[in-house]
């Protein structure tokens, strides 16, 4: 299933977008690909932060992923794939929607 992808509004204009939104033909956002920022050093070691909401008010800390897994494909709050680049994550999201 092909979606219309657009830069997220949270993107920093001086850097490549860290989040892309995939919308259906009616313009409803149904998928996201998100860059895992970090790593972050915590008392539990070095972790990556996964935002659980659009503003990243809720964050889940995960162990540092394998290299090449910095982009998450997310549908409805569920991670459906990981990739090293946003385009590859977009393909994972679209493949998951296609079932």
């Amino acid at each position: 299933m092909r979606l219309r992808w657009a830069r997220s509004r949270e993107a920093n204009p001086s850097q490549p977008a860290r989040e892309w939104l995939g919308c259906d033909d009616a313009g409803n956002p149904i998928a996201r690909v998100i860059h895992l920022d970090g790593p972050i050093s915590t008392d539990r070691g070095v972790v990556r932060a996964v935002p659980l909401d659009r503003e990243a008010k809720l964050v889940r800390l995960l162990p540092r992923p394998q290299a090449g897994g910095d982009w998450l494909a997310v549908i409805g709050g569920r991670v459906v794939g990981r990739a090293g680049a946003p385009l590859a994550a977009v393909r994972r999201a679209e493949a998951a929607l296609a079932g």
Partner: protein
């Protein structure tokens, strides 16, 4: 130098492990760009950039050589660098002044030790680079295996822009993943003739997969390109090239091309890639000015940068000195401004004026006189009196000092003395000139024996220097056996007080110093601090104390080797109104060092080498056993086809003559490389031997 617009200039280096094909590639570049009308070969000793007699006789590059060529309306200044670790200073200084580099990787062995070392150097200077996997015609060549070593050994995102068509004898061309076409070389006219055609059917699926990977990584650097892709399902060639250039300059990924320079395939697309993906002088952030005293390394990013601008005040960096029959040539990278013959500039590193005599554009050992140079140029100046490698030349109205260069530590010493008395003066002059050219060569006089000691990067380095001394300066010299460049240091803090008193009629000498000695980490050098309060040692005598200990540190207390990595703090002292002098304080400081060091746990350090042995599988046991006998610590072992690569840290002392032993153990089938890794304390029994020998 010319009216070439800055965006049409590329200043690049070609670097790799020894024998990976740097000079061979450079030779093809000069031929295809019309600079040469024939292709020279390393094995024939007739290449353009290996112009020294020693280079032609030995078939290796010893000194970096600058050449200039034109390709599709652009001017490319190229520096071909040596691959042997003994001449690493040439790579170091070249990378320091270049805007981009081609890293050549051997298609059989993949990333080799010197490639790794040079890669880290390029990281240090933030040099954008493209990778060329060469020698795909060789038996055992494997593009994908060589490609995988990029990730494994360099830990980078390597991005193929091409795939090979055929391999070994069957290598005929490449798949261009940007334009999705095949480029086939036709075999004649030394590779000058090639044509485009459809991608062979059996490679199409693989090519599509790799192109998708290229798009995934390249477009991620530019949102507009992503949007173009989402709109159209693909991007234009221009967009893709723009993204690859952005990613190459930022280091987000490293583009990979392939071919075989020796068989004349793949070089023209490599030249195209230099224009398309490596930066011009205006595409890079500019060189940073040097740190102020006490400034933290973390503040580097905040420092002022000199942008390439021909109308700004002049700023340039001297990065290479050559002495020949016409005088001293100083190679300068011009970062900003414009300079004409006869102008005067400041050497801001040393604080004096220099008048520019004649200026030349260099083509290996040939020169073409030019009347002016502009930002972005590399040129050689004649007439500079006292400008050394790493010095900044700048306009008086903006006397900036650019970041200096870091030079490697010499690890091998030899003593050298002329065979005749008449040779003494000539030898001193010759060695001083050679040391002026080569910052990795150090020259000192042994205080006890009076011998001249040359310190260099390896046996080959010193052999070449002695050969040059003979050929260029006519000095026949007796050479001592190579010796390890040991160092001394201390292992615990100690405070020493020493009083120098001499009163035997007439004016006397009196000075007392109290100095704290403490060990520092490796490579921190020698640090001095003055903590004297209340004028216990008058201010004018403090430099004498600092100098006394620095001078004495050249002769360590255990075996006379230079003492390094310690801090000394002058904490107290006494003086006499009449009998004290700078000389008295210097003498007191020297004696204080000699006494204090003995009580501060002195130890001897030896250079430890990173050794990589490539051996056939059936000799691994012999090689490892032998390295263990040489006090080696095996770091790892990995198989690559039928060969095994053994990596170990081995004291340099144990590596003299290793090549003969290795050849005899493996019937000549193994080879090795080594480079300096770190200094470590020597074991007690070896220290005793060294001390006994020096006594």
């Amino acid at each position: 130098m010319s009216g070439t617009s800055l965006d049409l200039i590329r200043n690049i280096g070609i670097t790799a492990h020894i024998d990976a094909g740097k000079t061979t590639t450079t030779e093809r570049i000069l031929y295809y760009t019309g600079v040469s009308h024939r292709i020279g070969e390393v094995h024939d000793g007739n290449t353009t950039t290996d112009y020294m007699d020693q280079e032609r006789e030995r078939g290796i590059t010893i000194t970096s050589a600058a050449v200039t060529c034109e390709w599709k309306g652009h001017r490319i200044n190229i520096i071909d660098t040596p691959g042997h670790i003994d001449f690493n200073i040439e790579v170091n200084r070249s990378l320091r002044v270049l805007d981009g580099a081609i890293f050549i990787i051997e298609g059989v062995a993949g990333v080799q030790p010197q490639s790794e070392t040079n890669w880290r150097l390029a990281d240090r200077y933030n040099v954008p680079r493209i990778i060329f996997i060469n020698k795909l015609d060789r038996t055992g060549a494997d593009f994908f295996r060589a490609f995988n070593t990029l990730k494994e050994k360099l830990d980078i995102v390597a991005l193929p822009l091409q795939l090979p068509i055929g391999i070994e004898d069957g290598f005929v061309g490449v798949v261009d993943l940007i334009e999705m076409k095949a480029i086939i070389w036709e075999g004649g006219e030394l590779g000058a003739k090639y044509h485009d055609e459809e991608i062979p059917a059996d490679l199409l699926a693989q090519a599509k997969e790799y192109r998708q990977n290229l798009l995934d990584n390249a477009l991620a650097v530019d949102d507009a390109a992503m949007e173009e892709y989402f709109d159209k399902g693909d991007v234009s060639v221009e967009t893709l090239k723009r993204c690859i250039k952005i990613g190459t300059i930022s280091g987000a990924f490293r583009p990979v091309l392939c071919g075989t320079a020796f068989k004349n395939k793949g070089v023209q697309p490599l030249l195209d890639a230099v224009l398309d993906f490596l930066p011009s002088p205006v595409d890079v952030p500019g060189i940073a000015v040097a740190a102020e005293e006490g400034e933290e390394e973390s503040e580097t990013e905040e420092r002022r940068r000199i942008k390439a601008d021909p109308s700004a005040p002049f700023a340039g960096l001297a990065f290479k000195i050559i002495n020949d029959k016409y005088g001293t040539l100083t190679f300068v990278r011009v970062y900003s401004g414009t300079l004409k013959s006869g102008d005067t500039v400041l050497n801001t590193t040393k604080g004096h004026k220099e008048r520019i005599g004649r200026m030349f554009q260099m083509h290996a050992d040939k020169r073409a006189e030019i009347k002016e140079v502009h930002a972005g140029d590399i040129a050689a100046f004649v007439g500079l009196k006292d400008t050394g490698t790493g010095d900044t030349l700048a306009a008086a109205e903006d006397p900036v000092v650019l970041e200096r260069m870091a030079f490697p530590v010499p690890v091998i010493d030899i003593s050298v003395e002329p065979k005749t008395k008449e040779g003494v003066e000539k030898m001193t002059l010759g060695l001083q000139k050679l040391a002026g050219e080569d910052p990795s060569l150090r020259l000192r006089t042994d205080q006890e024996t009076g011998q001249t000691i040359l310190s260099g990067m390896g046996e080959l380095h010193l052999e070449i220097i002695i050969d040059r001394l003979k050929r260029e300066y006519g000095v026949d010299a007796n050479i001592g056996a190579p010796q390890v460049a040991y160092r001394e240091t201390i292992s615990k803090p100690h405070t020493e007080t020493y009083t120098h008193k001499k009163q035997s009629g007439g004016s006397g000498q009196y000075a007392e110093v109290k100095v704290e000695f403490e060990p520092l980490e490796r490579n921190e050098g020698i640090v001095f601090e003055n903590k004297v309060v209340g004028g216990a040692v008058p201010r004018e005598y403090i430099p004498a104390v600092e100098k006394g200990i620095r001078v004495q540190a050249d002769t360590g207390v255990l075996a006379g080797f230079p003492t390094v990595d310690f801090k000394y703090t002058l904490v107290d002292g006494k003086y006499h109104d009449v009998d004290s002098s700078a000389l008295a304080f210097e003498i007191a400081a020297k004696a204080c060092f000699r006494e204090g060091m003995k009580k501060a746990g002195p130890i001897i350090l030896e250079p430890i080498m990173d050794v990589e042995v490539t051996t056939p599988q059936d000799h691994v046991g012999d090689v490892v056993g032998d390295l263990n006998r040489r006090r080696g610590m095996i770091q790892n072992q990995e198989s690559s086809g039928s060969t095994v690569i053994v990596r170990a840290h081995v004291p340099l002392k144990e590596m003299f003559g290793y090549i003969s032993q290795l050849r005899s153990m493996t019937k000549g089938r193994a080879s090795f490389t080594m480079q300096f890794h770190h200094y470590d304390p020597v074991p007690r029994n070896i220290a005793d031997e060294i001390m006994a020998r020096s006594a």
